[in-house]
């Protein structure tokens, strides 16, 4: 099998400086790299002009890697989503509120054992868990 031709999906957070705010980089991802994107969240900061995009990218492994190289060369900082949600173990009591508010069941409670699980692949960065956690145990760095 030819290397890098399998289609994969990845959720990435892109942080870009003010100089790139007007650069249509997602258009380039499609046109040049044939990578499909789904915008989950987009924001341009009023204070420092910095922008952030939360995207779900889909494409062949090779095209995805090349597009991330392109973005890096452009000056865009990229991160996968799971680094952007941190659950403080010592503060979490494993209640169930985050599972209750999570729209994609990225947070869930194991039946009967009643332990809490987090599946980063399902997270869309909506931030409801952080807002609703009664013990302030979740920190997010979503755009």
């Amino acid at each position: 099998m030819k290397g890098g031709t399998m289609t994969i999906s990845k959720r990435v957070v892109l942080h870009f400086p003010p100089s790139l705010v007007e650069e249509p980089m997602t258009y380039v991802l499609v046109k040049k790299f044939n990578v499909m994107f789904n915008i989950l969240k987009a924001r341009v900061s009023v204070d420092d002009g910095e922008g952030a995009l939360l995207l779900e990218l889909t494409g062949t492994e090779r095209n995805m890697n090349n597009s991330l190289i392109y973005l890096k060369q452009l000056g865009v900082k990229t991160e996968t989503l799971d680094k952007d949600l941190v659950r403080a173990d010592e503060k979490c009591v494993q209640c169930g509120i985050c599972a209750l508010v999570c729209p994609t069941s990225a947070f869930s409670i194991t039946a009967r054992e009643m332990t809490l699980n987090f599946d980063a692949a399902k997270c869309i960065g909506c931030d409801e868990c952080r807002k609703n956690c009664p013990y302030g145990a979740i920190k997010t760095y979503f755009p």
Partner: protein, 398 residues
């Protein structure tokens, strides 16, 4: 042959007491039978860890130079009750921060309040105190701006008027709009069902007729030692029971007391209930002495045996109608979904079962380690024969 508390304590002292948790006893009794289990097991430990709004701390700050009669006080900007003596204060768990917008900023985050002050106090953090008084000849100081930590003040004891609920409602929302309650957010049209109970590990559900629990019962409280001090407010032994004696809804409660200086903030947590308010999540564990086979049988209660009422919090609960949607049990609730009519409804816990388990295990290790002895209550919690029950407000509306 029935055992006594004295005999059990003698076994604890000799390092010979056999202790297990209310979860472990289920399997043990199934294997060897209740008669043998009652003979072999001396104590069954229970635990629960959930938001308990009726909680607070009595503080005596100690007198300043010159002395002061405090009439208004704020701890980290949260007002404390001062209408007792000169320097006695009560910090309530549900007290909001001064200028907190509450739910006017919908739904309301309630980031910091009484419960958080208590957690910070127990954690040894410095607490800012702003106090005011009208000044008297004997207490001339009229203003104080200061800070203190837990071990710098005279007294601090937890006193919670209503804790450790024996069973509780399961909340649902039959309305058309999302609502926010003390049992969490409820999605419209029976979108979810929330519950808050340790079920088979829950203290009062393991001694449902209060044969061993009452005033003076020594307990695990907030990571330290505490005592049941009084029947809790809204204590209601009149609730209908199953054949096993387990109440079919919220029933008994206890008021608890303990020295804050020997507790741990891990087990007394400030709680922000979005859209509702501030609370304190309290860890409680009660040891059940296995005095006879009847007591052992009570402790073998399982989640499947505990029935709870499903209540609509969009209309029936706020309007005190007493109407329920139906009943379910904790095994069904813990499976992750229940059937209400034709609808499959996802369920969510508000209290923490893993933490309840940890408390029962901790109390077990204290007893086995000879650090905890059981007490004989001076008066058992009132039962059904007392005629005590939950009453709605009986005064006049003006």
């Amino acid at each position: 042959m029935p055992k006594t508390i004295e005999e059990i304590n003698a076994k604890i002292k000799a390092g010979k007491a056999v202790v297990c948790t209310a979860e472990e006893i289920i399997g043990i009794a199934k294997k060897k039978g209740t008669k043998a289990a009652a003979r072999d097991i001396d104590v069954v430990t229970t635990g629960t860890f959930g938001p308990m709004c009726s909680s607070g701390v009595f503080i005596n700050t100690g007198h300043t130079k010159p002395r002061m009669k405090i009439t208004k006080a704020f701890l980290n900007n949260v007002e404390a009750f001062c209408g007792i003596a000169a320097v006695d204060l009560y910090v309530g768990a549900t007290q909001l921060s001064e200028n907190d917008p509450a739910n006017s900023d919908h739904p309301g985050a309630f980031r910091y309040g009484g419960g958080h002050v208590i957690e910070d106090l127990v954690a040894g953090k410095e607490i800012k105190l702003r106090a005011y008084g009208y000044g008297t000849d004997c207490y001339p100081r009229r203003e104080l701006t200061s800070s203190f930590t837990l071990h710098q003040i005279n007294d601090a004891f937890l006193f919670n008027p209503r804790n450790s609920y024996q069973n509780y409602n399961v909340a649902v929302n039959l309305g058309k709009k999302r609502i926010y309650t003390y049992l969490g957010m409820l999605k419209p049209g029976l979108g979810n069902a929330n519950y808050s109970s340790a079920g088979q590990l829950s203290p009062l559900l393991n001694d449902p007729l209060y044969r061993t629990i009452g005033i003076g019962t020594r307990i695990f409280l907030g990571g330290g030692i505490g005592y049941a001090a009084w029947p809790g407010t809204q204590h209601d032994p009149s609730v209908a029971k199953t054949a096993r004696g387990v109440p079919r809804g919220g029933s008994g409660t206890i008021a608890v007391i303990g020295d804050l200086k020997q507790m741990k903030s891990q087990w007394l947590r400030g709680t922000s209930v979005v859209g509702y308010g501030v609370s304190l999540t309290v860890g409680i564990g009660i040891p059940i002495p296995i005095l006879d086979e009847e007591m052992l049988v009570y402790t073998t209660v399982t989640d499947r045996d505990i029935v709870a009422p499903v209540v609509d919090y969009s209309y029936e609960y706020p309007n005190l109608t007493g109407k329920i949607v139906g009943e379910t049990d904790y095994a069904s609730l813990k499976s992750g979904k229940i059937k209400i009519g034709k609808k499959t409804v996802p369920t969510y816990p508000i209290s923490s079962y893993p933490k309840a388990r940890e408390i029962a295990q901790t109390l077990k290790s204290w007893i086995v380690g000879k650090r905890f002895f059981l007490t004989n209550p001076v008066q058992l919690l009132s039962g059904k024969e007392s005629g005590v029950s939950f009453r709605a407000f009986g005064g006049r509306y003006r």
